[in-house]
Every structure is written in structure tokens, then in C-alpha cells.
């Protein structure tokens, strides 16, 4: 029992030691929240499919530090985002703006879907026509069909 309590105490102290590491977060929760929100919108350029909030790359660390400093200086979110775009381009934004260079990005999928829908519509119309255009069987065809059906019945 004593041992268990000791182990628990140790575990708890370890926990407190870890909590100490996260001091900046506790120091200014509002700023940290803004930092989190901003860094979730920014792409890490080293590991391109992660945002700066998730990435452990060193550059992401540096950029978080940079954002933190800017928040401290009282910069607005827009100023901070502009700072990043001026250096790394629209590519850093997970939500890129709509402009000439990004038209394909925004409109492309929609255009592809429209093309698909039009193609599908035309195809269905064509198929419908094939079905309705089918003339009734001629006397000879009817006779052949009858014969074939009887054949399967008898066998």
C-alpha cells in the first residue's frame, strides 16, 4: 500500500513537472487561443500537409514564436496573416483568397462537376431515346422469339 501511494505521488509530481513546461499557455490564455487559431490556418512549408499548429518542424516552431511576438505587439489577425503571405505566398493559407491565380483551384472542382452532370444528362437522354425508339417486333421477329422461348421451356 505504501508503495502504491509513493508511486502515485511520483506520478503526480511528474505530472506537475510537465505542467510547468506549458507555462506560456497559462500566462495568457487569450493570446494562446489566438495563436492556436491563427496557426491552424497556416500551412507549414516544411511538412506541407500539416498546419503550423500541428507541425513539429523547426520552422513551424519559429513561426509560432513569431506569431506570439506579433500578438504581444498588438498586431491584428489580418496583419499577422499578411506578414506570412508577404514572405511565403498564398500557399501558406489553408483558405486561399479568390483571385486570378487561384481561379482554377476554386472553380475547377465545380466546373468538373458541371461537365459531369451535363455528360450524364446527355447520356441518360440518349439511352431513353434508344428505349422508346424501339419499334415493336415485326411478325418474323415475334415468331423467332416464340420459338426460342419454347426451346428453353422444353429442355
Amino acid at each position: 500500500m505504501k508503495r502504491l501511494i509513493l508511486a502515485l505521488c511520483l506520478a503526480l509530481t511528474a505530472h506537475f513537472a510537465r505542467a510547468g513546461d506549458a507555462a506560456p499557455l497559462a500566462a495568457d490564455p487569450v493570446a494562446e487561443k489566438r495563436l492556436m487559431k491563427l496557426s491552424e490556418e497556416l500551412r507549414c512549408l516544411v511538412c506541407q500537409n500539416q498546419n503550423i499548429a500541428d507541425s513539429h518542424a523547426e520552422l513551424a516552431d519559429d513561426l509560432r514564436r513569431e506569431i506570439r511576438a506579433m500578438i504581444k505587439d498588438g498586431k491584428t489577425d489580418k496583419e499577422i496573416i499578411d506578414f506570412m503571405v508577404a514572405r511565403y505566398g498564398d500557399f501558406v493559407l489553408y483558405n486561399p483568397p479568390f483571385k486570378a491565380t487561384t481561379v482554377l483551384l476554386w472553380v475547377g472542382p465545380l466546373a468538373l462537376m458541371l461537365i459531369g452532370l451535363v455528360a450524364l444528362g446527355r447520356y441518360l437522354k440518349q439511352r431513353n431515346q434508344l428505349v422508346t425508339d424501339d419499334a415493336p417486333l415485326s411478325a418474323e421477329e415475334a415468331k423467332r422469339a416464340e420459338a426460342l422461348l419454347n426451346e428453353t421451356k422444353n429442355s
Binding site: 512549408l45 516544411v46 520552422l59 508577404a86 514572405r87 505566398g89
Partner: protein, 194 residues
């Protein structure tokens, strides 16, 4: 015939699209800095740390800014190209030594006193240049990578061509190969030097 024509055309278009996509290097992000003035900085010079250097000192000259570090593996790959370039070229090649100490994943920064970082960086950078040759007119120390952020550096090595007016005219990401040097950088330098 017509039945197969459209799907075939669609398929070919898709193949072309994917083939082009495969050839693109996602690491080559177009830099918004091209066409803009080179961001100002004032950093200590590696050989004489008491002195500082900034892009202003290069006004009226066409010059190259090459971001390097001793821990950067691809820098070793491009280094012979730079050494060869420096022997023949008549324009300055400035090295931006990027996060020499703290950028090295093998260095435990908690064991290094802040005031020792610069000394260690100089020692490491000097040793590397002695070993591999020094193509740089001069190198400056960007210990914390702050200037690197201003230049949009996200992967060393990176190289900038800066014109007489101090405008960035080209950015190359990744090691400079003889092809890149001969095919892109040298012609641009020739044009800008006119």
C-alpha cells in the same frame, strides 16, 4: 466509334494532367518576394563578427545571396558548384548562415548557454568552410533564423539573385545544380549586369 472517342479523350486529358502533376515539385513554392526589394537586415559578418553587413552595402551591384548551414546535407551537394562559380564569376556571392547551431537537430540547445551560441556558430561555420572551401565573398550569421523568415526561407539551401536596385529577381529553392547555374542563374546575371 463515337462511343469510345469521348471517354478516350477524357482519359488522355486525365493522363496528361497527372503526368504534369507528377513532374511538378510541390516543394517549389513560388516566392512572393520575386520582384520585391530584398528585405533589409544587419547581421554580424562571419570572419569579422564586430562588423555587420546588410543588403544596402550591395547597392549598385548584382549579387547572389545563398542560404547555407553546416548541418544542411543538400548544401554539401551544391557546394562544389558554388566554389566553381566563385572562381569564375565576377559578382559577389554572400552566404547567409542560417541557424548554424539551433538548426542542427543533433545539438541540444538546453545545454548551450545563450552567450555561447554565436561563438559556437562561428567555430562550426569556419570549420565547415575550411574543410569544403569558401566560395563566399562574405557570410553573415543568422543565429535565430529571424532574417530567414523575412526571406521566406523554409528549406536550406536557397539562393536569391538580387539586382543593382536591390530587387530580388529570382529565388531558387534547393541545391544549385550545374544545369540551374548555367541555364538560369548565369544568363540572368548577364542580363542584369548590362
Amino acid at each position: 466509334m463515337n462511343r469510345f472517342l469521348w471517354p478516350l479523350l477524357g482519359f488522355i486529358a486525365l493522363v496528361v494532367l497527372l503526368a504534369v502533376g507528377l513532374k511538378l515539385d510541390p516543394r517549389e513554392v513560388p516566392s512572393p518576394l520575386v520582384g520585391k526589394p530584398a528585405p533589409a537586415f544587419n547581421l554580424p559578418v562571419l570572419s569579422t563578427p564586430a562588423k555587420t553587413f546588410g543588403p544596402k552595402d550591395m547597392e549598385g551591384k548584382v549579387w547572389l545571396l545563398n542560404v547555407w548551414s553546416s548541418w544542411c546535407v543538400s548544401c554539401r551537394q551544391e557546394h562544389p558548384v558554388l566554389v566553381e562559380f566563385s572562381k569564375r564569376a565576377s559578382i559577389p556571392l554572400v552566404g547567409l548562415n542560417y541557424k548554424e547551431v539551433r538548426g542542427d537537430g543533433e545539438v541540444d540547445m538546453t545545454k548551450i548557454a545563450p552567450e555561447d551560441e554565436k561563438k559556437l556558430a562561428i567555430q562550426r561555420a569556419d570549420q565547415w568552410l575550411n574543410q569544403h572551401g569558401n566560395p563566399y565573398t562574405l557570410s553573415v550569421l543568422d543565429l535565430d533564423g529571424r532574417v530567414g523568415i523575412d526571406y521566406g526561407v523554409y528549406g536550406v539551401p536557397e539562393t536569391y539573385v538580387i539586382d543593382k536596385a536591390g530587387t530580388i529577381r529570382m529565388k531558387h529553392i534547393g541545391p544549385i545544380t550545374p544545369d540551374v547555374l548555367g541555364g538560369k542563374i548565369l544568363p540572368l546575371i548577364g542580363e542584369l549586369s548590362k
